[in-house]
């Protein structure tokens, strides 16, 4: 339950009762699926990286960029062909946490709001799901960097 405003006794009793009857998501199984599928996505990513590393003029640092681009492309294509959401229902966090999840959140929103036009539809809604990730990712990165800098200045 989220915020418990003033609840009546009847509400509390019912909620407890309903919670008991509610089938719980199989957390352990879902974790296992996420671990395996997520691991496979990362292994696949590693293969792509090695491909770029050994066949082109990249080093370990720069090979990451084309690798991510390829993963994003695959993820966007799977989203467009309507496969990604079915895969995600099975794999859960396994395909949500890697960069593929981010690509899916943006492309799915872009596809969905195409009917509202390119500017206000696609442009306005593309970051609907990815926006919070960017906002809080950037904010927390800034805060951590600030703490690190201060620590190095005064602590070291």
């Amino acid at each position: 339950m989220k915020k418990n405003q003033q609840q009546t006794n009847e509400q509390k009793i019912y909620q407890d009762y309903a919670a008991k009857k509610e089938p719980k998501p199989p957390i352990l199984l879902n974790c296992l699926k996420a671990f395996i599928i997520g691991g496979l996505v990362c292994t696949f990513g590693q293969l792509i990286q090695d491909f770029f590393l050994y066949n082109f003029d990249f080093n370990e640092q720069t090979a990451g960029d084309p690798t991510i681009a390829v993963l994003i492309l695959i993820s966007v294509l799977l989203t467009g062909f309507g496969v990604y959401d079915k895969l995600a229902q099975f794999a859960g966090a396994g395909v949500a946490v890697p960069v593929t999840g981010f690509a899916n959140s943006m492309s799915s929103a872009a596809i969905e709001y195409r009917t509202e036009g390119y500017v206000l539809g696609v442009g306005g809604n593309m970051f609907k799901l990815a926006g919070p990730v960017i906002v809080y990712g950037t904010t927390s990165a800034f805060l951590i960097a600030l703490i690190k800098t201060l620590w190095m200045q005064w602590g070291g």
Binding site: Q15, A18, S108, T115
Partner: protein, 340 residues
């Protein structure tokens, strides 16, 4: 006429003269496919947006219901309809072409019985000879508004329900052949503090139980009076909860007696469905199609249809509000073989 505290008894027994039931491709793989008048093979219904596709569903169902009894839209005095899309535009756009004097309803998934109760009351009182009522929902349009983009990979919990792509409409008339509407009980908002929009069955079960209890109190009836008590879309989670709530209050419904439209419409191997079907179209499609067909085949004679609606919005959920729910009950009966 008013019966008890919140019910109507229809002494002149308005008749459901005709129905129109259409669905989408996912429903075509379901459990009650032969009860549809038309099944679209594409989720876009040859339209350019999902919202227009829903409008198309409602138009198709309406014209089907009218054509079965050789009526035209202008023969209808009123139209009671609504849907789930913002400001019920999908229905209103359909009414642009139907051009019948129109009452727009919003009762979420209870709209089907809200419309049938109001239509029957007006016909019963002589306020109209013919009324068209119904509702439509579209899976993609509803997901887009209430949840995430359709192609977004979010893992849904086992309590989630699947919005039906379909539309069911009915023509209610003063007299004629067909099942009759004998009474209705209008529900009040019940909110037992459930906040999870992915568990609507649990949120709506108390509303259904409250309306059913009121119905039996108002008419001084026993549950055994009905062959079936049909809930709108409580699903796998809500239906047992409702039975428990009723039994706690001393209303002894049996397991065999309780049906749920959300559980009837799809096959169990359709995994995306999770806890059952939902959406305004769910009860409309199953009641006006599958159940009325069985009633006309005399497989049973009386049913109480209790359509339940969760009256939240995506905004109210984000603001941490609980989900207010409602249920309206309508009694539909098949009287004598002579009516057939």
């Amino acid at each position: 006429m008013l019966q008890g505290s919140q019910s109507w008894k229809f002494v002149n027994e308005p008749v459901i003269l005709s129905t129109g039931v259409v669905g989408g491709p996912f429903e075509a793989k379901g459990n009650v496919t032969k009860d549809f008048d038309h099944l679209f093979s594409d989720v876009w219904m040859a339209e350019t947006t999902f919202e227009k596709a829903q409008t198309r569903l409602f138009e198709e169902a309406s014209y089907t219901a009218l054509s079965k009894i050789n009526k035209k839209p202008q023969d209808m005095q009123f139209l009671f309809a609504g849907d789930l899309i913002n400001q019920i535009t999908a229905t209103s756009f359909a009414c642009r072409t139907l051009s019948i004097p129109y009452f727009g309803l919003f009762g979420a998934c209870s709209t089907s019985m809200e419309g049938l109760a109001l239509s029957s009351f007006i016909v019963d009182k002589g306020g109209a000879d013919y009324i068209l009522t119904g509702t439509a929902s579209h899976n993609a349009a509803t997901e887009k508004q209430f949840r995430y983009p359709n192609e977004y990979g979010a893992q849904k919990p086992p309590t989630a329900q699947w919005t039906v792509t379909g539309s069911g409409t009915a023509v209610i008339g003063k007299s004629g052949a067909g099942p009759v509407v004998t009474s209705a009980t209008i529900g009040k908002i019940m909110d037992l503090g459930v906040t999870d929009p992915f568990n609507m069955g649990a949120a709506m079960a108390p509303a259904a139980a409250d309306t059913i209890e009121a119905h039996f109190t108002d008419f001084d009836l026993d549950p055994s009076y009905y062959d079936y008590i049909v809930t709108g879309d409580l699903g796998e989670i809500g239906l047992p909860l409702m039975k428990d709530l009723l039994q706690q209050r001393g209303i002894m419904v049996t397991d065999a007696q309780c049906l749920d439209c959300g559980l009837l419409i799809y096959k169990s191997e359709q995994e995306e469905v999770q806890a059952g079907g939902s959406g305004t179209g769910c009860s409309a499609v199953v009641v006006y199609g599958h159940l009325l067909n069985r009633l006309k085949n005399q497989e049973f004679t009386r049913m109480l249809v209790v359509a339940t609606g969760a009256l939240h919005s995506p905004l109210s959920v984000q603001q941490d509000e609980t989900i207010p729910c409602i249920a309206h009950a309508v009694s539909i009966e098949m009287k004598g073989v002579g009516n057939l």
